[in-house]
Assembly symmetry: C2
């Protein structure tokens, strides 16, 4: 992954952002459930709850055994525990039946690190290089020529057309099941450039605990990502405990075809749906069919999801992961091209959204710290 | 509903079909979970299984307590029980982990009656009449003028443009939450013209039992309908035991907007996705993200869903409800414009799909017979 690092250094952040966004939006649905290849710690591992902490029937925020051990005491942790107590207290005024306990989570920057680049972008660049031996013509053809020469900046000079070619080459022209296998293979071998660990270990331990805590209290947890659902589904079961049908993301156009009697679903180069910003409530409506009561994000791309979620009647919880820890993770917000957080940060107080201060609120960031 | 009957008699089947198809394709996602207003018997009611019949660990087709009491002994029932035994036998060669036990069901003609017209079409026509007082101009404007005068045939003479206007008037121009409330209100008051009962009681008791039986054996059950997901979600929880996020259907275009600080999702007049024929495997891939191992349909519109499902490796089950009972329900297949069943019927034997002979295989058709 060192080669990615050297690329990154030569690129401006803004350039990354342009490519990252578009590559992310090329995602489409894939299939299969996770295999043992996804080597991350199962979400239930560090966070399994004693039966006594399941469906809370009391208003007390004191949990029998701490289900959120990686969270420091503070407003963020208190808000989570109080909210769960409110909606699960069967005789309380704010009881929400389990069928309506829907919680949605952004992925990049909310459940795993999105720096120094979106993981799906690292995948796309690796895939261009992996495919190059089968495409000798790429050495003489932009944008591939520049990517392979390490000059991604020049590759992107071709604008939208160049980006579309990169997407088609790395995310399309294969069946959904082939793409699933490609992602599984990549995610089981690629390593995060800073930590030298598989990407699926560079996930936030406090959020794994939160996912498990909500599920233990009768919630259904969904991912609502600007990235491709196809890229997340192959490993999200093992890593987050979230099954494929609870992953919502951007989608490529798909085509069902039968070749020599064998049916397949082909991933086309076109983008079918962009699950970002105002697309997030639409994606939620299309696939979940009801408004969540809790939503978690980290950037302005999650603004509308939090707005939609917290504008409904009854108890609502909106939370924002604020990246404030340059030592253990990264510190960035309004000036970062990746995970820009400005409007949502500014409006959080008046909207009642809780800002999670990563540095203050998280005792542990990654599972491997433990 | 007598007025619908009189309409129906004056229309040709083919005409119904044209409108029915397009109206059905106008569906979009709605929200909310079912309320007590949906008055159907909960799916678990007549079909709840004793704990001893949950996750089968033996190969024996003998179930401790009969979970399928409305099915007569025969090839169809045997196929279901044998399949469930195969995939749930943990030490068997065909064991399928629960995460991959995905079963998909068509709705119209598979879970409830689609004759004498698609229920969603009855809804659309009723809605034109209900809205007419607010639209005095409709009495002088086609296609509404003809619909209101009872001359639907003439209304459809305007072709696609007329149909688009009917869709826009009955399924669009409202928010998803408003549409949800409209469907709830309608479904709780409208009655099936033949049986004089709420439509949600004109569902197939054997299929309710099958849904519950599969779920008791660790399956996740999904609806994959050519109709609008929006039209099914408000009542499918109470009637079928299937939550909104497990309903896949055709979709209208949606738009997220904020008016005076209040966010809403508007249903637009355009069709976003047609979940029929080759669209069914695509819809499955987009929302479920993995290939089902069992699929149930009743028409050629389900052909590709069954083809996709039963072409995968390992144990697979494809079943077709064949409408063979003119006394208790209807008898129709290849010549019917609604629920046309020709190619799937012809190819069933060579593809190993089991044809359910409604007259022979079902002891009971509707719950209200009991």
């Amino acid at each position: 992954m060192a080669r990615l690092e050297s690329h990154r250094e030569r690129w401006s952040h803004a350039r990354w952002y342009v490519l990252a966004l578009v590559v992310l939006l090329a995602g489409a649905c894939t299939s299969r459930t996770p295999t043992a290849e996804a080597r991350a710690k199962p979400a239930g591992g560090a966070t399994s709850l004693p039966e006594s902490s399941q469906p809370q029937q009391t208003a007390s925020p004191a949990i029998p055994a701490d289900p959120l051990p990686s969270w420091n005491a503070g407003a963020a942790r208190d808000a989570i525990v109080a909210f769960v107590a409110r909606v699960t207290r069967q005789d309380g005024p704010d009881f929400v039946p389990p069928s309506e306990r829907i919680a949605t989570f952004d992925n990049d920057g909310t459940l795993w690190s999105e720096q120094p680049m979106y993981v799906q972008l690292a995948f796309a660049l690796d895939r261009v290089r992996d495919l190059a031996p089968k495409h000798p013509e790429w050495h003489n053809r932009e944008p591939f020529k520049s990517v392979l020469a390490g000059d991604a900046k020049n590759a992107l000079a071709g604008g939208e057309h160049a980006v579309a070619e990169l997407i088609a080459a790395t995310h399309a022209g294969v069946t959904t099941e082939e793409f699933d296998a490609i992602v599984r293979q990549w995610i089981s071998t690629a390593h995060h450039p800073r930590y030298g660990r598989p990407y699926i270990e560079v996930v936030y331990q406090p959020m794994l605990e939160l996912l498990a805590y909500l599920r233990a209290n009768g919630f259904k947890t969904f991912i609502v990502s600007g990235g491709g659902a196809d890229f997340i589904r192959p490993w999200a079961g093992d890593v987050y405990g979230i099954p494929p049908e609870q992953i919502i993301g951007s989608r490529a156009k798909l085509k069902y075809e039968v070749h020599d009697g064998v049916p397949r679903i082909e991933r086309l180069a076109g983008v079918d749906f962009v699950d970002d910003k105002a697309g997030k409530p639409v994606g939620i409506q299309e696939q979940i069919g009801q408004r969540p009561i809790a939503a978690f994000g980290n950037s302005d791309g999650d603004f509308e999801m939090l707005e939609w979620t917290t504008s409904g009647p009854g108890p609502r919880l909106g939370m924002i992961v604020h990246h404030t820890d340059p030592t253990r993770e990264w510190a960035y917000d309004r000036d970062s091209p990746i995970g820009t957080l400005a409007r949502a940060l500014d409006e959080a107080p008046k909207r009642g959204w809780i800002v999670i201060d990563m540095k203050q609120d998280w005792k542990t960031v990654y599972p491997f710290e433990q």
